[in-house]
């Protein structure tokens, strides 16, 4: 009787052991075991990167070790312009699986294939704006098994259309949200006309007319503004209707990378367009998300 009870107890103990050890076989776990455990929170309406991603709650801290919602929003904000480019159908899913990860008992990372597809589709466009593919999105560190996030319909194959892709800085909708996002992602913005466009190696060199008005000064200095020359990065052969028309006035955005000024956006200054007028009016009161505040 006594030995039988002991045997039953021993079997129960034995059954427990494998389950305990199973917990240690997972390759991906919470970032650090002494940090606060992540919590399930609603995706806020002003986290625009992840609106309509397909789920409504996220983990905080997220998988990029952003610890507060303010930090998540601030860092996610600079990725919103990339969504407008539609460079890959999985762009939002990849970014949001890290910025606003789904609420599960353990973290679910994006699949390596999803990451590689987005990287291959989007990194040329990011390069056009002077941004390398960032370290935080290195694809090698993501899982390759089935316990990861992939595009729900992975059967989509990109059909090559007859036209070469439009230059990324020239491929913008005349829409307030898009223009404001690109304005925030750019360092400066000016109103001016184009004087000359010339090919230079892989780039296109854009010389502007003397007469300029600054919409957003940013890091630009007055003396630099006078002789400003912009480069369309890797844009020697892609079509850009704006650059072909030198008679129009343009809203031109840019940023400085090393010693060059890169063109990041160009819109026709069209006062007859209602959306453009609305944007210019909104621009006066619009505040870009600050990139330093979270850490001060």
């Amino acid at each position: 009787m006594k030995s039988l009870a002991s045997l039953s107890l021993w079997r129960i103990i034995i059954l427990i052991l494998p389950l305990v050890s199973l917990g240690q076989t997972f390759e991906y776990g919470w970032p650090d075991n002494y940090d606060k455990p992540p919590q399930c929170v609603d995706i806020p309406v002003d986290l625009r990167l992840c609106q309509g991603v397909g789920y409504h709650q996220m983990l905080l801290p997220n998988l990029l070790e952003h610890e507060s919602m303010a930090e998540v929003k601030q860092q996610a904000g600079s990725w919103v312009p990339l969504l407008h480019k539609n460079c890959d159908p999985g762009t939002q899913l990849l970014l949001c699986s890290l910025f606003a990860p789904v609420c599960m008992e353990r973290p679910i990372y994006p699949c390596r294939r999803l990451c590689e597809n987005v990287r291959d589709g989007c990194s040329p466009i990011m390069a056009a704006f002077g941004f390398p593919w960032p370290h935080i999105l290195t694809c090698d560190k993501f899982p390759q098994d089935d316990m990861c996030i992939n595009t729900p319909n992975d059967t989509s194959t990109s059909e090559p259309n007859g036209h070469p892709p439009v230059c990324p800085p020239c491929d913008n909708e005349m829409k307030m949200d898009v223009i404001l996002d690109h304005m925030c992602a750019s360092e400066f913005a000016i109103k001016t006309k184009i004087q000359e466009v010339k090919r230079e190696n892989m780039d296109r060199k854009v010389t502007l007319q003397k007469k300029k008005r600054t919409i957003k000064m940013g890091t630009l200095k007055k003396k630099d503004l006078k002789k400003l020359t912009l480069y369309l990065k890797n844009g020697a052969d892609c079509p850009c209707t704006q650059l072909d028309n030198t008679r129009n006035t343009y809203l031109i955005m840019g940023r400085k990378v090393d010693k060059q000024y890169l063109l990041t956006g160009i819109h026709k200054w069209d006062k007859s367009n209602r959306e453009f007028k609305k944007t210019m009016k909104k621009l006066k009161s619009h505040k870009c998300p600050a990139y330093e505040n979270v850490f001060k």
Binding site: I13, L15, P18, L22, G54, Y55, P134, D146, M147, N150
Partner: protein
């Protein structure tokens, strides 16, 4: 047949009051319970030295963290020695820091070092999370810009000095007797804390535009405690036998000397030291504190220490058959749940006679 106790059971059985507080959901309730019950709790905890009890009463918020740190040390010890005859369990009086190991052995050296490091680790982590009053982030590293490296100190740098000092004040307060064992314990406690200090990490976060590293903030952070466990395990394998030196015949021992050396060579700060040879840990022995290996799991095909031949000390082993069941072929389904299959197989486990 020995039972294997889980962490929760350990806490609830040996520290019922602490466990009661830990399970309390509301911080306000926790705060008031701590304030009201501090004296009761501190008097109920077994094995506290007088100065430890005084610290407990003056800092009741810290005693919970200390308990967690001690448990962290014990858990790591049991992990590091899970394949040995001695697996960090022992007969004898149980204190806040687990069992008091009677023999001044290499195993005692490891236990003291890992426990002191565990307390320092837990206190430092609690400071960073804002769970302890009187401490927080390392203020020396706030806002300072590193001109040479190009990044900026920010975030919450772990204040490991505070954690180490607190561990020193509390853990070392246990050593009352003026004897050789005291010197050994103090040395090993400090060695554990030194390893933690040496292994602090620099962590950085890129928060420029589009995740670029043009803007970067760095802070110091604690290593995972497993890393400390591995380092101390290495120190354990090269632990040094020492003996205490008296200035005169009737004075108390004043320092430790390497036993093998001819002169008065002292161990270094991060060496683990022991005074006595280890028992073989084969049989249960209350005098040496050995728990014995009867009923321990062993691997009947392994020639190493976890093998049945060595683990069971030649007494032989029993075989038990059971069916192992686990979840397998897990897939994440959009959106959002995980679907798994159930796998099973018949297998055997072996225990020492």
């Amino acid at each position: 047949m020995r039972s294997i106790s889980s962490c929760g059971a350990l806490l609830s059985v040996y520290y019922p009051q602490i466990f009661l507080i830990l399970t309390s959901g509301s911080y306000l309730a926790l705060s008031s319970v701590v304030a009201l019950g501090a004296n009761i709790i501190c008097n109920k905890i077994p094995g506290l030295a007088p100065r430890q009890r005084a610290i407990c009463q003056s800092r009741p918020d810290a005693i919970i963290i200390i308990g967690e740190g001690a448990q962290l040390g014990i858990n790591e010890c049991q992990y590091q020695f899970r394949y040995g005859r001695w697996n960090c369990s022992a007969l004898g009086e149980r204190t806040v820091f687990g069992q008091e190991l009677r023999v001044g052995s290499k195993e005692a050296a490891f236990t003291y070092a890992i426990t002191a490091a565990g307390v320092a680790h837990a206190v430092t982590a609690a400071c960073s999370q804002g769970n302890l009053s009187h401490c927080g982030c390392d203020r020396e590293k706030q806002g300072y810009h590193d001109q040479e490296e190009g990044w900026k100190w920010g975030g919450c740098s772990a204040d490991v000095k505070y954690g180490v000092e607190f561990s020193r004040r509390f853990v070392d307060a246990r050593e009352i007797k003026k004897n050789a064992r005291r010197l050994m314990n103090l040395h090993n406690n400090e060695a554990g804390r030194k390893v933690l200090e040496e292994r602090m990490k620099l962590e950085c976060k890129c928060h420029g535009v589009s995740g670029s590293c043009t803007t970067k903030t760095c802070w110091t952070t604690l290593p995972k405690f497993r890393e400390i466990g591995y380092v101390l395990k290495e120190r354990y394998t090269t632990a040094l036998e020492v003996e205490a030196v008296r200035a005169t015949r009737f004075r108390q021992p004043s320092f430790l000397r390497l036993k093998q050396s001819r002169g008065y060579i002292k161990p270094t700060d991060t060496d683990l030291v022991f005074l006595e040879r280890s028992p073989n840990y084969c049989e249960e022995d209350t005098v040496t504190g050995s728990a014995g290996t009867r009923g321990r799991l062993c691997n009947h095909t392994s020639p190493l220490t976890d093998g049945c031949n060595l683990m069971c000390c030649g007494r032989g082993h029993n075989t038990h058959q059971y069916t192992r069941v686990w979840q397998c072929n897990c897939k994440f389904q959009w959106c959002c749940f995980v679907k798994c299959n159930t796998c099973s197989e018949k297998t055997e486990v072996f225990t020492c006679k």
